[in-house]
């Protein structure tokens, strides 16, 4: 969160009002439509995928320290004849379930539960798949006082230290540190209509434009689509969705995800833990272009080509 000095709100409104009327900023409607698809109410959520691509899934509950967080799902299941640990944020479909799942905003207990499951998986030599779908970690006083920041950072630290293969898949909305808390992986895959961003468009609009109604413009500025994340090097592959989006056909969306997971896990299982850790570190180490007079104009960070397929 940064920016210049806060100007008077009325002044800002006048300026932004003028900018809005001028044709200076074109809002790309396709981009906005894709961002809306990422959080479509009928889009498959974490358990929708897990239940379709695994058998014998056993969900774990509780962090053994404070409580159980329904916004985070973690457990073990059978995926194509191998044991795999799955963790991910879980959103709800109706009002009751949405409240129960806290809109997919995990608390420290959620990250600690997922860490507990990942530690077991690591000990048992089981690969780990994370499914990312959250507007952000829960911004509440209770979460803060129980160490939300430390829970996210320790989750990242643990994922970096894992010996087993780790795949992260952004299946819907991947916003802020709450998403990245499950994102330290050997491969980061993104569904075609998913987003991966430093903040939700609404949050950015309130902070940078000081006006909650500028979400579209914020989205336009961040361009957090799967295709762009692939170009930046943030995502390693873009997983296609059924025509019209994943919400039109959950079965097919899960089948395609399963195929990509299988291929990625086979690739990773062929490597040693040491090889995987070098790649895991390097893939994050090189992200972020800057100007370095000694090392050339900009540090290469992404790809120029659009995603294949």
């Amino acid at each position: 969160m940064s920016g210049g000095k806060p100007d008077g709100p009325s002044f800002v409104r006048r300026v932004t009002g003028k900018l809005g009327r001028s044709s200076g900023v074109q809002v790309d409607e396709d981009l906005w439509a894709s961002i809306q698809l990422a959080r479509h109410a009928e889009r498959p959520y974490t358990l929708d995928y897990i239940n379709r691509i695994t058998s014998d899934f056993e969900e774990m509950h509780g962090d053994r320290l404070f409580g159980d967080d329904p916004a985070m799902v973690a457990g073990f299941g059978r995926f194509n004849d191998r044991a795999v640990a799955f963790v991910g944020q879980q959103k709800g479909r109706d009002t009751n379930e949405r409240t129960y799942r806290n809109f997919g905003m995990a608390s420290p207990e959620g990250y600690r539960k997922s860490m507990r499951v990942m530690e077991i998986a690591n000990r048992m030599g089981m690969p780990i798949v994370t499914l990312i779908d959250t507007p952000g970690a829960f911004p509440g006083a209770s979460a803060e006082e129980r160490g939300q920041g430390g829970a996210i950072s320790r989750s990242m630290q643990l994922m970096w230290r894992l010996d087993v293969p780790v795949v992260a898949v952004v299946i819907g909305e991947g916003s802020s540190g709450g998403a990245l808390g499950l994102g330290i992986a050997d491969r980061v895959l993104m569904l075609e209509n998913s987003t991966y961003s430093v903040i939700s468009p609404e949050g950015a609009s309130a902070i940078l434009w000081r006006d909650a109604s500028q979400a579209k413009r914020a989205a336009q500025a961040f361009k957090p689509t799967a295709a762009n994340c692939y170009r930046w090097g943030v995502a390693d592959a873009v997983i296609p969705e059924p025509p019209g989006g994943a919400h039109t056909d959950h079965e097919q969306a899960a089948e395609i995800l399963g195929q990509y997971l299988q291929r990625t896990l086979l690739e990773l299982e062929a490597q040693t833990p040491a090889e995987r850790r070098v790649v895991r570190r390097e893939r994050f180490r090189r992200l972020g272009p800057l100007r370095d007079p000694e090392g050339g104009v900009a540090m290469a960070s992404g790809r120029d080509a659009p995603p294949p397929g």
């Binding site: 970690a137 630290q157 802020s176 540190g177 961040f222 570190r281 994050f284 992200l287």
Partner: protein, 338 residues
């Protein structure tokens, strides 16, 4: 009462000033600063000498990164590292004004190229690498340059085998670099682990404010974590929480003193004691060459061990049956595990 709730700094000056505070001159000299908490006026020189802490009430003013380095080490006694790295504009980002303009303004205003300054220096004779964030450069926000410099500082300290001091003062990830700014959280967390592998300690100083993606990445992973009095330490700031959850927060929410009670920091340390405190802990965790602790058992410890041995010998031996019952794998599945 102050916003912090209670001062943990007990200042003699404060008591001295309380009696005749009304009599202090209200005229503000051109080089003076006014304390936002107690309205006392100080000349710039007086503030500098007092490490930018109000001598009357102990309020901690912001400090630039380079002045911090002088406070921690000896004046002029540091070598700055990687100072020419500068931000790029990967998204061609514009909010209320273009990102490139914001960078240029910040450079002009602060005389720095980015929101973190890295240096090699000695703190109380212990050689260290320090990475000091500066809130005055775009809110201390973490973009690619801050991430890169922090990662280099970690790698440099690990490679030299000397401690790393990080001072955080940041609103979080730099919005204007979008998703790539978010990825700096991952980069710094991973880089910090190089110090764990090299068995070198990390001292984390949390200055006001340490929030968002900075608190949720490297800043919460120090081996020893000190916070400055009154510093806001939070993942979501109070305003965001109140807007999202409609909760009414206590006045000291997220402040250093409350985060100490929450178990999030090791101590709240007055800036005037910070360098001495860091020096003291570094002399224990990473003593400089020639000052290593000698691990010879003292006479007291030896005597203690002999005493424990004598007591153990005098105890009656336990019957084998009882020992057998609590031994795991003895066939009794209902028995307690050892």
């Amino acid at each position: 009462m102050s916003r912090v709730g209670r001062n943990i700094t007990v200042s003699i000056d404060r008591l001295r000033h309380l009696g005749h505070r009304q009599d202090r001159p209200r005229r503000i000299a051109s080089d003076a600063s006014t304390c936002p908490k107690c309205d006392s006026h100080y000349s710039g020189d007086e503030m500098h000498r007092n490490l930018r802490v109000c001598p009357a009430c102990g309020h901690h003013f912001p400090v630039t990164a380079r002045e911090r380095l002088e406070q921690l080490g000896e004046p002029g006694g540091y070598v700055e590292l990687w100072s020419d790295l500068r931000a790029a504009d990967p998204l061609q980002f514009t909010d209320l004004k273009p990102y490139v303009d914001r960078i240029r303004e910040a450079e002009t205003k602060t005389g720095m190229n980015e929101a973190v300054v890295c240096a090699e220096l000695e703190v109380r004779r212990v050689p260290c690498v320090a990475a000091i964030m500066d809130f005055s450069f775009m809110g201390g926000s973490m973009g690619a340059v801050v991430g890169e410099k922090l990662a280099r500082a970690c790698e440099h300290a690990a490679q030299k085998g000397i401690p790393l001091i990080i001072l955080s003062s940041s609103g979080g990830a730099r919005m204007q670099e979008g998703t790539l700014a978010l990825m700096q959280m991952a980069k710094t967390v991973i880089a910090l682990d190089a110090l764990a592998e090299a068995q070198v300690p990390v001292i984390m100083i949390l200055a006001h404010p340490t929030t968002g993606g900075v608190w949720a990445s490297f800043a919460s992973l120090g081996d020893v974590t000190y916070a400055e009095p009154g510093a806001l330490i939070a993942f979501s700031g109070p305003r965001v929480i109140e807007e999202t959850t409609r909760e009414v927060l206590p006045a000291d929410f997220g402040r250093a003193e409350r985060q100490l009670a929450n178990g999030q920091v090791d101590a709240v340390v007055d800036r005037r004691e910070l360098a001495a405190r860091i020096g003291r802990v570094l002399h224990i965790l990473a003593p400089p060459d020639g000052e290593a602790l000698v691990a010879a058992p003292s006479g007291w410890a030896q005597g203690g061990a002999e005493r424990v041995g004598r007591v153990a010998q005098s105890l009656p031996s336990l019957p084998g049956k009882i020992m057998g019952r609590i031994r795991p794998g003895s066939g009794n599945d209902d028995g307690p595990a050892a």
